[in-house]
C-alpha cells in the first residue's frame, strides 16, 4: 500500500515538475537558443551578391565582390561562393558542404591552377580572403564542438539579447576555430545574432563582430538576415566589413550549381 502511495507521489511529482519547469527555469537553454538561431538564419535556398571591404590600420581599403548561393537539404547546407571582383581574384570559387554533425567538405577553384582542390575544413580559423573574418564566420558552427553556457541577458543597440558563452571542447578545436572563447549576443525576440566577442587563451579580447541592418528577406516566410556585418580586430586595429547588395530567397535554386564541375565553369 505504501509502495503504491509512494509511486503515486512520484508520478505526481514528475508531472508537477514538468508543468512547473518552464516557470521555474523561465528561459530556454543555451543550446536551444543556438539551435533556434541557426534555424532562423537558414534558408531553403538563397542567392546574394556581397561586397567585402578589407581595411588596414593605415586607412587603406580593398574591396572584393562576391556572389553566393546556398541550398539547404536534410543534414547539409550547400554553399557556392564566386569572386566577381577585383580582376586578380575574379573566378576564384569555393564550394562548401556544411554538415550538421560532421566536418564540412570544402573545395576551392583557383583559375591560375585551372583545377578544383579539396581543402581541409578544419582550417576554419584561417582568414577569409585576407579579411578579419575567418572561414568559420562564413558558416554556422557545429554546436557539438562547443560547451555552451547561457550567461545572462544584455541589451545591444536597444535589443534585449541572450548572452551565450561558446568554449571549444578540445585544444584541437581551439586551433581549428582560432579562438578559445566566444561570447555571442542573440536577440531575444528574433534569435538573430547581433554581436560576438572572440577571446584568446589568455582571455584577451581579439575580435568583435557586429551584425546590423537586419531586414526580412522577401518571400522567405518571415525569415530575416543581417545586411551589414563588421569584424573589428582589437589587436592589429584592422577592420573588415561586408554589405549584402542583393539578396533573393530562392527555394528552387539550381541544385546542379553545387558541384565541383560547376565550380570550374567560367
Amino acid at each position: 500500500m505504501i509502495k503504491i502511495r509512494n509511486k503515486n507521489v512520484a508520478v505526481v511529482s514528475i508531472f508537477l515538475m514538468m508543468a512547473v519547469s518552464p516557470l521555474v527555469c523561465g528561459q530556454p537553454t543555451a543550446k536551444t537558443i543556438m539551435r533556434k538561431s541557426r534555424e532562423v538564419s537558414r534558408f531553403k535556398g538563397m542567392e546574394s551578391v556581397t561586397e567585402l571591404h578589407i581595411l588596414n590600420n593605415r586607412g587603406g581599403e580593398r574591396i572584393r565582390k562576391i556572389a553566393m548561393a546556398s541550398l539547404s537539404q536534410p543534414g547539409v547546407e550547400k554553399r557556392i561562393i564566386r569572386f566577381l571582383e577585383p580582376a586578380d581574384v575574379k573566378g576564384t570559387g569555393l564550394l562548401i558542404f556544411d554538415y550538421e554533425n560532421k566536418n564540412d567538405d570544402m573545395w576551392m577553384y583557383l583559375p591560375a591552377l585551372r583545377k578544383v582542390r579539396r581543402i581541409v575544413s578544419s582550417e576554419k580559423g584561417k582568414s577569409f580572403m585576407g579579411s578579419e573574418f575567418s572561414n568559420a564566420d562564413m558558416s554556422a558552427p557545429n554546436l557539438d564542438d562547443f560547451t555552451l553556457t547561457l550567461k545572462g541577458e544584455q541589451s545591444v543597440d536597444g535589443m534585449e539579447c541572450f548572452v551565450i558563452d561558446m568554449i571549444p571542447v578540445s585544444h584541437e578545436l581551439i586551433i581549428t576555430y582560432g579562438f578559445a572563447r566566444k561570447e555571442v549576443y542573440i536577440g531575444k525576440s528574433d534569435y538573430m545574432l547581433r554581436e560576438a566577442h572572440y577571446y584568446d587563451k589568455n582571455g584577451t579580447l581579439v575580435k568583435v563582430l557586429h551584425a546590423k541592418d537586419i531586414q526580412p528577406v522577401s518571400g522567405s516566410g518571415g525569415k530575416s538576415m543581417a545586411r551589414w556585418l563588421s569584424m573589428e580586430n582589437k589587436i592589429n586595429n584592422r577592420t573588415s566589413w561586408l554589405r549584402i547588395l542583393q539578396v533573393r530567397y530562392n527555394p528552387d535554386v539550381n541544385a546542379s550549381m553545387f558541384t565541383t564541375a560547376y565550380l570550374q565553369k567560367q
Binding site: 566577381l84 591560375a112 582568414s127 580572403m129 539550381n254 546542379s256 564541375a261
Partner: protein, 444 residues
C-alpha cells in the same frame, strides 16, 4: 513500330538536354556571367619581366629573359546555352637569346551547354591531376617549360580539341576528348646545349589523319569522403623525342641532323584527394605503355609514375609534402655519353631522350616541400619550393615574394636554382632557368 519508338526516344533525349538550359538564370548565375544583358566581357593583364642568371658557360651573369607584354581574354556568351573564349598573349623582348614570338593564341573555343551535357570545340588548355604541380596524368595539352614566368599557368599551351562532358547526377562526370591535331611541347633543352655543328630542324608533326589523332577520357567522382578519377589516354606524348636524321653535306663537311619526332603511347591513370583529420591527402598514378620502344631505341620505355602528398594548413601557412617516383618497367641501361668528339650523335641523343623522360635509372624517388605563407591581409605572399631527387642527386630550390601593391597590381621577385651532376636533366636546364627574376603585373 520500332521507328516511332526511336523518334520518341530522340525527342525525349533532346527535351532532357534542353530543359536543363531553359531554367531561368538565378541571381548567382546572372552575377557570375555578368548579367543577362552583357554579351561579352574583357579581362587580362599587362606585365614586364626581367630574368637574369649564369649562362651556359656558367661564368657570366646575363639576362635570360627581358620582355613586356600582356594577355587579353575576351569572354562572349549567348544566353545560357553557349559561351566562348578568345585568349591571346603578346610579347616583345628576348628569351633564351631569341626574340619571343609576338602573338600567341592560347585559347579560342566555343562551349555549348545542353543541360547536363557540354561540348567545347577549339583551342583549349586542359589540366588534369590532383597532385601538386607534378601530374603524371596531365598529358592532354602541351607545355613550354622554358617560359620564364613566376606564374605556373604561363607554361601551359593550348591545342585544338573536341572536349565533351556529361554530368551524371551531382557526383559523377564523364569527360571525353578527341585531339585531332598534334601540337608538341617545347623540349626543355635548347640549341645552346647541343654541339654547335648539329642542325635541328622543326618538329616533324605526324600527318593530320584520323589514325594519328589522340583520344582521352576520364570518369570523375566527387563524394563527401573522397574525390577520385580514372583516366585513359591514347595518343602522342606532348613531348617529342630527339631522333638522329643522318648527315647533311654542308660546304665540304657532313653535319649531323637532329630531328624531333613524336611517339604514341597509351596511359591509364588514376588520382584521388581526401582528408585525414587536419591533413589533406592526395595521390596520382599513371602507367604508360609506349608504342615502338622495342624497335626504336629512342622511344620512351613503358613506365609507372606516381605522386603521393600530404598538405597541412596552420593559420596563414600552407605546406605540401610530396613523394614522387618513376619505375621503368622495361628498363634498358644507356651508357652516359663521353665528352670527346668521337661520341656518336645517335648515342648522345638516346641519352638526352632518357634524361627528358626520367629513364636513366630503373627507378627514381623524389621528395619535395612546397610552403606558402600569406601573413596579415594577404597583401604579401611568400612561397618556397624545394625538391631533391634521392636517386640522381638533382635538386631544385625556388623562393618567391609577391607583393599585392593594390587590387590588381602586383610585384613579384624570386630566385630559382636547378642543380645536378653532369649528365643529369637539371644540369642541362639549369643554365636556361636558373637566376633571379622580377615581374610587375597589372590585371584588369
Amino acid at each position: 513500330m520500332r521507328k516511332p519508338v526511336r523518334i520518341s526516344a530522340i525527342i525525349v533525349f533532346i527535351g532532357w538536354l534542353l530543359t536543363g538550359g531553359l531554367q531561368a538564370q538565378g541571381l548567382f548565375e546572372q552575377s557570375v556571367s555578368g548579367g543577362d544583358n552583357q554579351a561579352w566581357s574583357l579581362s587580362g593583364y599587362i606585365r614586364g619581366l626581367a630574368w637574369a642568371g649564369k649562362t651556359v658557360d656558367k661564368e657570366n651573369i646575363e639576362p635570360k629573359a627581358l620582355f613586356s607584354g600582356g594577355e587579353i581574354n575576351l569572354l562572349a556568351k549567348s544566353g545560357k546555352f553557349g559561351d566562348g573564349k578568345l585568349s591571346f598573349r603578346l610579347r616583345d623582348g628576348m628569351e633564351n637569346g631569341y626574340e619571343p614570338y609576338g602573338l600567341d593564341l592560347r585559347e579560342a573555343y566555343i562551349h555549348v551547354h545542353l543541360g547536363p551535357v557540354s561540348l567545347c570545340t577549339g583551342r583549349q588548355i586542359i589540366a588534369w591531376g590532383r597532385a601538386d604541380s607534378n601530374n603524371p596524368t596531365d598529358l592532354i595539352t602541351p607545355k613550354n617549360p622554358l617560359f620564364h614566368s613566376p606564374d605556373p599557368d604561363d607554361i601551359r599551351m593550348g591545342n585544338f580539341l573536341f572536349n565533351g562532358k556529361i554530368n551524371v547526377g551531382t557526383h559523377i562526370f564523364f569527360q571525353g576528348i578527341w585531339i585531332p591535331v598534334y601540337r608538341p611541347s617545347i623540349i626543355p633543352v635548347t640549341r645552346d646545349v647541343l654541339p654547335p655543328e648539329m642542325e635541328v630542324p622543326a618538329v616533324q608533326s605526324p600527318q593530320k589523319t584520323l589514325k594519328n589523332s589522340g583520344y582521352a577520357m576520364k570518369m570523375d567522382f566527387t563524394y563527401p569522403a573522397v574525390d577520385f578519377s580514372l583516366s585513359w589516354f591514347d595518343g602522342f606524348d606532348p613531348y617529342p623525342l630527339f631522333s638522329f636524321g643522318g648527315y647533311k653535306p654542308v660546304d665540304s663537311t657532313f653535319v649531323p641532323v637532329i630531328g624531333e619526332e613524336p611517339f604514341r603511347e597509351k596511359i591509364a591513370g588514376a588520382d584521388f584527394s581526401t582528408t585525414l583529420g587536419s591533413f589533406g591527402v592526395r595521390g596520382e598514378v599513371a602507367y604508360r605503355q609506349t608504342k615502338g620502344y622495342d624497335h626504336d631505341i629512342h622511344v620512351a620505355l613503358p613506365d609507372i609514375r606516381w605522386v603521393a602528398g600530404l598538405d597541412k594548413t596552420l593559420g596563414n601557412l600552407t605546406m605540401i609534402v610530396q613523394y614522387s617516383g618513376y619505375c621503368v618497367t622495361k628498363f634498358r641501361e644507356v651508357p652516359e655519353p663521353g665528352s670527346g668528339p668521337a661520341v656518336m650523335p645517335d648515342q648522345m641523343l638516346l641519352f638526352y631522350n632518357r634524361l627528358m623522360f626520367r629513364q636513366t635509372k630503373r627507378s627514381q624517388h623524389t621528395l619535395s616541400l612546397h610552403a606558402t605563407w600569406s601573413p596579415g591581409q594577404e597583401n604579401v605572399n611568400i612561397e618556397g619550393y624545394g625538391e631533391t631527387n634521392l636517386t640522381t642527386g638533382e635538386s631544385l630550390i625556388r623562393a618567391q615574394v609577391k607583393w599585392n601593391v593594390s587590387d590588381g597590381l602586383s610585384l613579384t621577385g624570386g630566385w630559382q636554382h636547378f642543380d645536378g651532376k653532369q649528365n643529369t636533366l637539371y644540369d642541362l636546364v639549369g643554365p636556361l632557368l636558373n637566376g633571379l627574376y622580377m615581374q610587375c603585373k597589372i590585371c584588369f
